[in-house]
Subunit: 357 residues, 2 copies
C-alpha cells in the first residue's frame, strides 16, 4: 500500500507493507551522506533482516538509546556532536529506524541541525504508525514530554510490517491505543470492527488484519494533518485521550498508548458528567474491553490526581491558565472545552470507583 | 522608518527609529504572557530607559547571559525549564532585547518551545540590524557556531537607535562589518559613501547618519531573504566573508563582524588569485581602510590556517566535502565556487604578507 500526503507542496509518500524496508534505496540521496539512526534494541532484534535489505547500500549507522530515553537534551547534544563530527552538510539525510520516540528524536535532530536536514521515518512499532506521520518531532523537557520540538515533514515514511513480529505485548497494547483513538475519530462502526477482530489480548497480539486497521489509522491522521498542519484547529482532536494520558504516562511511566487509552476512558467520564455523549453503559463496556486486553487500569489506584492535574496544566492546547480537553459531542463530532480542577478531581474519583467495581 | 517584509503571508514589520521601544506596546498579546528575555549587560546599561518605556506594561522579565555565552545547549536547557515553569502556552510570546546572540538564542527558544511560539526582536547593537531580520535563529555546538538552529520569523523587529549610544568601539566595528558587506552587495557607490562618511574610527564611533546606512543594510537583506527564505540560492550571498570569517571568529574569539570584515578581505585575495574581480590595488586600499578603523588584522599572525580550514569544512554551504565560498565576479555580481585547500593556504600566506607590509 502506498499513500501520499496532499499538501500544496513538499508532499511525501507513506509505504505500508511487508518488506517495505527494501524501498529505502529509492529514497537515498546520491553522493551525499545518508545516516541511519537506529534504536539499539531494534538493531539487536533485526540485525540480519536489516543487513539483508540495506547491506549493499552506502549508508552510515549509528545505534541510539532505546525508546523514550533518547529524548533528552543531554543526549541530543551528544548525538548532535557525533553527527557534526561526520561533517554532515545540509544535503545529508537522516533515517530514523525505531519506535515513536526514535522518530521524534531523529526528526528533531533533522529539524535543527544546520537549520534543517531531510529525514526519513522507518517506524518499527504499532504506535509509530501515528507519530511518524504529520511532522511533529521533539524531545522532552524535565518538566514534561515533547515540550521542545518542531514541525518538520519527513521525506518519506516507510512502514515495514515485518518489524511488528517482535513487539512485546505492552507495545502492541500501546500502539493499539492510538489505532483505537483513530477509530473513535471515524465513528462507532470502526470501533466495533476493532472489538470484533480483537476481542481479547490473545487475538490482539497475533495482529491478524492489522494492515487494514493501520491503513484506517494512517488515512484518518493524514486527512487531519493535511487540513491543519500546525494544530490551529482540527488537529487538536488527535489529542483525544492525551491531556489526562500524558500526565498519567509522565508520572507512572506506563507506555504512551496505554496511557492514551486510559485517557480516553477518563475523557468518557468527563463527557458523561458534562452530559455530552458517553453514558454509564458505554463506559462499563469500554472498561471491560480494556480489562480483556490487559490495559493497566490499576495504575489509577496509585496515581496522584493533584500531580496529574499539575501536569495537565502544561498541556500545549491550554489557553492561559485553563485546561482544554478534547471531548466527544456525537458519534464523530468533537469539541475542545475548558475543564475545571473540580471536574477533573470528580471524574478521577468516579473512575477509580468504576475500575475497582 | 517602518519597513514590512513582502512574503506571501505572515509578514512582519521592522521599525527603525529613536525611541522605537515605545512601539512594543502595540505588539504585545492581550491576556497572554509576554516575556522579555534581555541580555544582562543591556539591562544594566539601559534599565532606566527600559522602565520609562515598558514600566507600565504587563510583561515578565528574565535577564540572560550576555552575548555569545547564552548560545549553549546547557543554557538553552536551563532557560527552557524556567520558561516552562511559568506555564507558558502556545499563545505566549517571547521578546528578545539584546545583540545578535540574544536574538539568535531567544529565537531558537521560540522556535522549539511547545513546537513554536511567537517572538519579537529588539536588537540593541549595530550588528543585530542584520541578524534580527530573516528568521535565522540558533545556538552553537561545541564544534561550531550556529550549527543547531531553525528558520523562524519574528512577529516584529523593533530597532531602537537609542541603544547604540552605549556600544563599545569593538561592537561598532563588528556591526559595521555587516553594514559594509551589505554595501558590497549593493555595488561600489554604496561602499564609497560609507568610506566618505566614516574615513576613520573617530567618525565611525560617532555613528553620524547611521540610520540611513542601516536602512540600506535592512533593505538589502530584506530583498534577499524574501526572495530566498531558506537559503537555497541567492541568500547564500549574504555569507560573503563568512566562510573564512566564521573560522577565524571561532578560533580567535574576535567579534563576529570584525571576523567577517577580515573574511571579506580574505575573499578579495581569493578573488584576485582566481582572476575574478579584485586586484592588488583594491586590496591595498581595503587593508588601509581596515587599519584606519582599527580592525584587528594582526590576529592573522597568530591564527593557524590548518585549524581555520578544518572549521571551514563544517560550513553549512558546503556540498559533500568541498568548501564553497561566495566570490565576487563583478561590481554587484556574485558566485559560489569551490575553493581547494591549496588555494586557501596560498591566499592565507599572501594575506599575512600583505598586512605586515
Amino acid at each position: 500500500m502506498k499513500f501520499e500526503t496532499t499538501y500544496k507542496d513538499n508532499n511525501y509518500p507513506i509505504i505500508l507493507k511487508q518488506n517495505a524496508l527494501a524501498e529505502l534505496k529509492h529514497y537515498l540521496k546520491e553522493n551525499e551522506q545518508n545516516i541511519v539512526l537506529i534504536d539499539q534494541d531494534v538493531y539487536r532484534y533485526h540485525k540480519d533482516y536489516i543487513k539483508e535489505h540495506l547491506g549493499q547500500l552506502d549508508i552510515k549507522y549509528l545505534t541510539i538509546m532505546s525508546g523514550e530515553a533518547c529524548k533528552q537534551l543531554s543526549y541530543f547534544e551528544s548525538i548532535s556532536e557525533k553527527l557534526l563530527s561526520l561533517n554532515i552538510t545540509r544535503q545529508s539525510q537522516l533515517i530514523a529506524i525505531g519506535g515513536g520516540a526514535t522518530g521524534d528524536f531523529v526528526g528533531f535532530l533533522a529539524s535543527t541541525l544546520l537549520r534543517g536536514l531531510d529525514f526519513i521515518q522507518i517506524p518499527t512499532t504499532l504506535l509509530a504508525h501515528d507519530s511518524a506521520i504529520g511532522g511533529k518531532v521533539g524531545i522532552n523537557a524535565s518538566v514534561g514530554k515533547n515540550l521542545i520540538g518542531a514541525f518538520h515533514r519527513p521525506q518519506a515514511v516507510i512502514y515495514d510490517l515485518k518489524f511488528l513480529d517482535t513487539l512485546p505485548h505492552v507495545e502492541v497494547r500501546s500502539g493499539y491505543g492510538e489505532i483505537y483513538k483513530h477509530a473513535i475519530l471515524n465513528g462507532e462502526a470502526e470501533q466495533h470492527k476493532l472489538m470484533d477482530v480483537y476481542p481479547s489480548i490473545k487475538e490482539l497480539v497475533q495482529l491478524e488484519d492489522i494492515a487494514s486497521f493501520l491503513k484506517m489509522g494512517i488515512e484518518t491522521k493524514l486527512k487531519i494533518v493535511v487540513e491543519d498542519e500546525f494544530e490551529g484547529g482540527v488537529r487538536k482532536h488527535l489529542n483525544l485521550g492525551h491531556t489526562f494520558g500524558h500526565g498519567l504516562e509522565y508520572l507512572t511511566k506506563i507506555a504512551h498508548g496505554e496511557a492514551v487509552m486510559i485517557g480516553i476512558l477518563f475523557q468518557k467520564v468527563i463527557n458523561k458528567n458534562k452530559s455530552l455523549y458517553d453514558n454509564c453503559d458505554s463506559i462499563f463496556i469500554f472498561i471491560n474491553y480494556l480489562k480483556e486486553l490487559g490495559y493497566p487500569l490499576n495504575i489509577i489506584n496509585q496515581a496522584d490526581i493533584e500531580l496529574i492535574f499539575d501536569y495537565m496544566k502544561k498541556d500545549k492546547k491550554n489557553i492561559g491558565q485553563t485546561i482544554q480537553m478534547v471531548l466527544q459531542t456525537g458519534e464523530s463530532s468533537f469539541t475542545i472545552e475548558s475543564v475545571s480542577k473540580d471536574e477533573v478531581i470528580k471524574a478521577f474519583s468516579e473512575l477509580k470507583a468504576l475500575i475497582n467495581d
